[in-house]
Symmetry: D2
């Protein structure tokens, strides 16, 4: 007979007349007292954000909500066209692609920066940047947080995010190291490499002390908001079927006309 | 030859050095100036929330973020156990079940209330409530927004949400009608029926003028935040495999021991 | 204290050295003895298909596997572009849109036909067809299984599916009624209406006695196979990013150039 | 102005009266002539399976369809409880967790075996097995395809799959190497390590010459079939809500009673 292990969660609980989230009474202490960003911080960390943390956290999540026509927006819209009765499934489909290539790359930047500054001893940031870039090049892996197909040479979100971090006392070693890594990677590769928003968000997540495993989650919650906006527009002014016909016409012409 | 139709979105656009969301410069006018809830309102409606709208909107979305161990939390955790490298897929899986039974029932309440007050003429709210309940009973359909397996006789979120709506001048005919419908449904059925949080959220969405098609989306974006919190806890203190073994032992005992 | 209810499944069970599916030893009685379609029949119905059922079942599922560039194929490919490490999430995203508009419409046809022939008494099929079409028109609902944007006036899958059903003794009242309904709907609407593959599949599912709740599932399992093929092609000859750029250019031109 | 790149797919195409999949007329050459497993082989590889390939391919996909109560089955059932109108989303949710831990581990085995036998020169299989295990141990990575929580010391599917491969002339170097790796990993670790079904399937996928990128897809298509069976049972004899209450009671007791 297998011995049972405990099942336990410390996030929230409820009884017939109470709902308590992270130790706070939801109706009495949260509703009407917090904005959505601060509640998200509470949900993830288990504690109330300081005003500085609130400023920075709201900014990094908002950054990832919306970027016009993205793969996730197209996916959500095309899913909605087939199942308009299941809006939640359309959002879910749109989120499935937030992996290592888009949005999820925040995770890679956070992990890289944590590992670089762990056990740093007396090393200065510049030599750590050089060593980090060398390590990624040696392993043939792309340095996370760098490069952007549209925003070149500067991603307009990046300097603004670092400015907000600095205004709130959080532009410290992780942010500095991310910038030094970007410069060093440019030097080594001989190419212009944008320090993109996911790199800035990743660095700021380190400043906030977030576990790297959860950093991709900030982009996921943000994009869920963005996709709801796209689905409302799709319900009023659809593009999904027109995309379908254009792609189908292009993709199969060589077979149809053979 | 098929004539192409236009493909057009008015939500956001970007160039190499700019990102504009709903007509606002993202770095210059949004980051550092808005909280996440207000940005969500902007994303969905295309305009900036008034202070009253901000209070009410943040409250209704926050209400739907977290309710302890829910089907969506279990789903996200069990998905994460199999694919910890794909956190976004675990959130997506958790969202897929926000349909007509859980969370998505906000949509039904909004639709019911809009239809009930459309072309109302001179009818008073009480007679509209009676007619609405009679219609649902006649069609054998459950009145949305009523009943709760745990919160009985009162869902503690409901009076607080109506209070916040009232404090911000938004507890008008839709909120009143929802409450009258609840009372009438109790009278007709002879059973105690909780006016639950999805009923209150649905009514307030009418007050805010949101299209019913998008109301389920508020719960979806909210729960995405909640699920990220659950996945962080799962990564640190997992319960998924223990759930698996307990369910497997219970479900197959009659076959294994046959 | 809540009284626990039983948790029970009769599909399969395993011990350290055995795996039994639907009462059959998986290694000894299934592997090497069945093809995938017959195993799917066993999994759903709990019994082994007759040769006739096998012929018909394999045909209807295969019908739904592949139709070139579909919304689900585009969705899967664009998801894969963002998360190539999560192929399963790309397939899952592609399946999310198999709702009431595409593929899932098999379900509507099955339900319609079951309801039409339930308690039919002495009514002949033609008068049932007339009554069914009249009912859908009265309720303003589209008759399921009819119409196709490409296959006009005949969906080439439909006559072949009915032929296979007939060859195996399963082109009985449900198949006949579906065809009569198509003719009647054309007469009433005055428009040419293709009896499409989902209508034929839906009718044949009635002949097989499948519960209508599960009929959408045949399209889901079929399309999962199709999407794996699309993802392999996408990994070798990608189109997702090119779709993204074309859509983005078209959708935002009016804003970028304003 | 961006230069457009071609969008092209070679899988299937259709016109008003034709549907062609992998060069074959769907109604005329596929329906009624192929079983679902062989169609899946055609969809993925672009060619018709030989009888031997058909035997082996059907067996490996069937192996992954069903294993009783799995995380994916629980996920699909709990999703269905919240959104019974969206069966496709319930299957999709269940598939999202087929990652590196469950089912998707076939991919790891295939990749390991391909890399091990690439450029092997004159090396014999035993020394390649020793080198492979040493490499995984050095990198602190688990050898894929080994270990099982229930099937110990032997996974009953494994010898049967190798037997079917041998009967069809496909138990060659990849299958032999997988078995040698299992023995070597046991020797090095000093623990009993089951060569599990995903290891056997992974090796056979190498024998079939499948690209490692698509191997996870076989498990995904297989499990989609399995989950449809679970959802039909859930619709008739549900367990989802009972799981919810049991987990909720266990997880929150320490907070509720504090």
């Amino acid at each position: 007979m297998r011995a049972q292990k405990p099942i336990r969660s410390d996030i929230a609980w409820s009884t017939s007349d109470r709902i308590v989230v992270r130790g706070k009474d939801l109706p009495g202490e949260i509703l009407g007292h917090m904005n959505l960003g601060d509640l998200a911080f509470l949900q993830i960390t288990g504690r109330t954000a300081t005003p500085e943390e609130s400023n920075v956290f709201n900014a990094i999540v908002i950054t990832l909500v919306e970027h016009g026509i993205t793969p996730s927006a197209i996916v959500a819209r095309m899913t909605y066209a087939g199942a308009p009765e299941s809006l939640q499934a359309a959002v879910a489909a749109g989120l499935c692609g937030l992996g290592t290539v888009f949005v999820g790359s925040t995770e890679g930047a956070t992990k890289m920066l944590y590992e670089a500054l762990e056990d740093r001893g007396d090393a200065d940031l510049q030599s750590i940047a050089v060593a980090t870039v060398a390590k990624y090049h040696r392993e043939g892996v792309v340095v996370p947080g760098l490069g952007h197909p549209v925003h070149r040479p500067i991603d307009p979100r990046t300097p603004r995010l670092f400015e907000i971090a600095a205004d709130n006392g959080m532009a410290n070693d992780y942010c500095k190291l991310m910038q030094l890594i970007a410069t060093e990677a440019e030097r080594v590769s001989g190419k212009s490499l944008t320090l993109n928003a996911t790199g800035a968000v990743g660095a700021i997540c380190c400043e906030l002390g977030f576990p790297w495993k959860i950093v991709r989650g900030l982009g996921v919650m943000a994009r869920a908001i963005g996709l709801v906006g796209h689905l409302l527009e799709e319900s009023e002014n659809p593009m999904a079927m027109e995309i379908l016909w254009r792609v189908d016409e292009a993709a199969s012409a060589h077979l149809r006309n053979a």
